[in-house]
């Protein structure tokens, strides 16, 4: 009886300590973000004096000003446009290729696939220098198309890898049935393989969307025209121009971070799956 109480107290103490540890780290994770959101509702006068997380008065005009007066609305739209365009393109291009690599026969198939995978593993930190030169030659630098094509390439290998792994495990019977019904190869990809791949496609969509939304270096190298810049790039310029207007900057940061946090909370199952399957590099 005594030993039972002993073990119970031991377990409770251990649980308490575990929670204390986990909870303090969780607070460290959340505090800067709550602080960012809180600051975006303060004014220039109160932002350094009132350091509470719940402002006494909410100043929504920071958001109005950030989105309308200071072009931040445009950058937001740019980011949304680039993200949607790249993700749609990757879903189509990568799933077609992955299906072919998994199911169809053609000369050089394994070598081409191996090159795609090798590209995923080998880092070339200077590649943006060469990309800059290349886009200049193609007259695609400082254009949305140039940026979109580069970003499709960035996500392609990882997406093909994830989708091929899935297609390899897909039962062949459905495809055989479709073929007997006279479905073409592209038809089978479109009407049989794609619908079955929905869970993996969700992973591909979410990982690539995060990747494009957060991308910085290519946006830095490719864009000179402010009107074409995505959020991350614009934020750095924003910081330079409005360095003294902190509530405005915090509103801009919140606008940049919030969509990604919402997507994460809604889709976290898929993100976790993508990360733990070892697909998220860097």
């Amino acid at each position: 009886m005594k030993s039972l109480i002993y073990y119970k107290t031991k377990k409770i103490t251990l649980d308490l300590l575990t929670h204390l540890f986990l909870f303090s780290i969780a607070v460290t994770c959340l505090y800067p973000l709550l602080w960012m959101v809180a600051s975006s509702f303060k004014t220039q006068e109160t932002i350094f004096s009132d350091i509470s997380l719940i402002p006494k008065k909410f100043h929504f005009e920071n958001y109005y000003f950030a989105l309308s007066e200071s072009d931040f609305g445009r950058y937001l739209l740019n980011s949304v446009f680039y993200t949607v365009a790249v993700v749609i393109a990757i879903v189509i291009i990568a799933s077609m290729a992955a299906y072919a690599f998994s199911r169809l026969r053609f000369p050089g198939r394994n070598i081409i696939f191996a090159v795609f995978i090798a590209a995923m593993m080998i880092p070339i930190p200077g590649s943006f220098v060469a990309l800059f030169v290349l886009l200049n030659k193609l007259h695609l630098r400082d254009t949305p198309l140039g940026y979109i094509l580069c970003m499709i390439n960035v996500g392609l290998s990882m997406s093909i890898f994830l989708l091929k792994t899935f297609f390899d495990t897909m039962p062949r019977e459905l495809e055989d049935a479709a073929r007997i019904d006279g479905c073409s190869k592209i038809g089978i990809w479109r009407h049989v393989a794609l619908p079955l791949a929905k869970p993996v496609l969700a992973v591909v969509v979410v990982l690539n969307a995060l990747n494009v939304w957060n991308e910085y270096v290519l946006a830095l190298v490719i864009f000179d025209n402010k009107n074409l810049m995505p959020l991350q790039r614009a934020l750095m310029i924003f910081q330079g121009e409005f360095l003294t207007n902190y509530p405005l900057l915090m509103a801009g940061l919140t606008v940049t971070a919030l969509p990604i946090i919402i997507v994460y909370l809604l889709m976290q199952k898929y993100i976790v799956k993508g990360v733990t399957s070892g697909a998220l590099f860097g």
Partner: protein, 294 residues
């Protein structure tokens, strides 16, 4: 018929192959090519200089090696502090406790944010000039003003600040992979060990740690590759006016390309940097293989 079918199959791979060839293979080859030239990026004339760029990197470019040392330092902090924290949190979350899901969701919020956002938010929190410097306020509040510092402008401290903010952003990612690894260890192993009279530490030493070695190596490799190439966080944190004491290789390459217009030299830097990264991850991979064979 056979050829026609093959051609048809190629159509499905063609878009991917086209984009990949133009935007990956060509730049890849050009990095090698350009690294042998002296070129400003604009003029049609490129001067062939053979390996002179690499010689300059090796023997004359002190700011490059300073940047390498800085990145090495941040990586060392990430490998030890960040990954140890991630591992401990994963162990804690692997126990049968409540709110497991809450912790898991929260820990992965910093990794999904962009480096720019994280850098700027932290700059605003800890900087004296254009921030609230909550940490210094805290130290003043508890009556220990000697602990207050200029976290981002003091050359002795700035790099450590960068490393810690980087760890804040990165640990959740290691945590998630460690946790997934821990959950693959069969529970029966622990029960059997308990029956044999093993205590918690014994279980950890004989079961948990050995089965986690491959995961630890994977996380270590990815930490090195990711952290050595990190740079946007520093831009957001320290601002555009990054001085030598927080510069890292990618920032050097960007600066050589954009400010000094030395495209060939920038490619040579990128190439030698890439080779170092590949060698490091290869060595680590081999070491882990040897460990597992034992």
């Amino acid at each position: 018929m056979r050829i026609k079918s093959s051609l048809e199959n190629y159509i499905l791979v063609l878009p991917a192959l086209l984009i990949f060839s133009v935007f990956y293979i060509i730049p890849f080859i050009w990095v090698f090519q350009l690294s042998l030239f002296d070129w400003d990026g604009i003029l049609p004339v490129k001067t062939f200089v053979a390996l002179a760029n690499f010689k300059e990197i090796l023997f004359q470019d002190s700011s490059w090696w300073q940047a390498m040392r800085n990145a090495g330092y941040i990586t060392l902090v990430a490998l030890t502090f960040q990954n140890a924290l991630a591992f401990l949190l994963a162990l804690a979350c692997d126990r049968q406790i409540r709110m497991k899901n809450f912790y898991r969701v929260v820990f992965f919020i910093p990794p999904i944010l962009s480096e720019i956002v994280v850098g700027m938010v932290w700059r605003f929190i800890i900087n004296d000039v254009d921030g609230a410097n909550i940490i210094n306020r805290f130290f003043y509040g508890i009556g220990m003003p000697q602990l207050a510092h200029n976290w981002l402008t003091d050359p002795d401290i700035a790099l450590t600040t960068v490393a810690i903010v980087h760890s804040w952003k990165g640990f959740g990612w290691g945590f998630l992979i460690f946790l997934a690894g821990l959950q693959t260890i069969p529970r029966e192993l622990y029960e059997a060990a308990r029956v044999d009279g093993a205590n918690a530490w014994g279980c950890f030493k004989k079961i948990t740690f050995p089965s986690m070695v491959p995961v630890i190596v994977l996380v270590a490799i990815l930490t090195i590759l990711g952290t050595m190439q990190a740079f946007a966080l520093i831009l957001g944190l320290v601002g555009g006016e990054f001085a030598g004491h927080t510069s890292v290789p990618v920032l050097r390459i960007l600066s050589v390309m954009r400010d000094s217009s030395r495209f060939g030299y920038a490619c040579a830097q990128g190439l030698s940097f890439g080779v170092i990264l590949v060698v490091i991850s290869f060595i680590q991979y081999r070491l882990s293989k040897r460990y597992r064979q034992r």
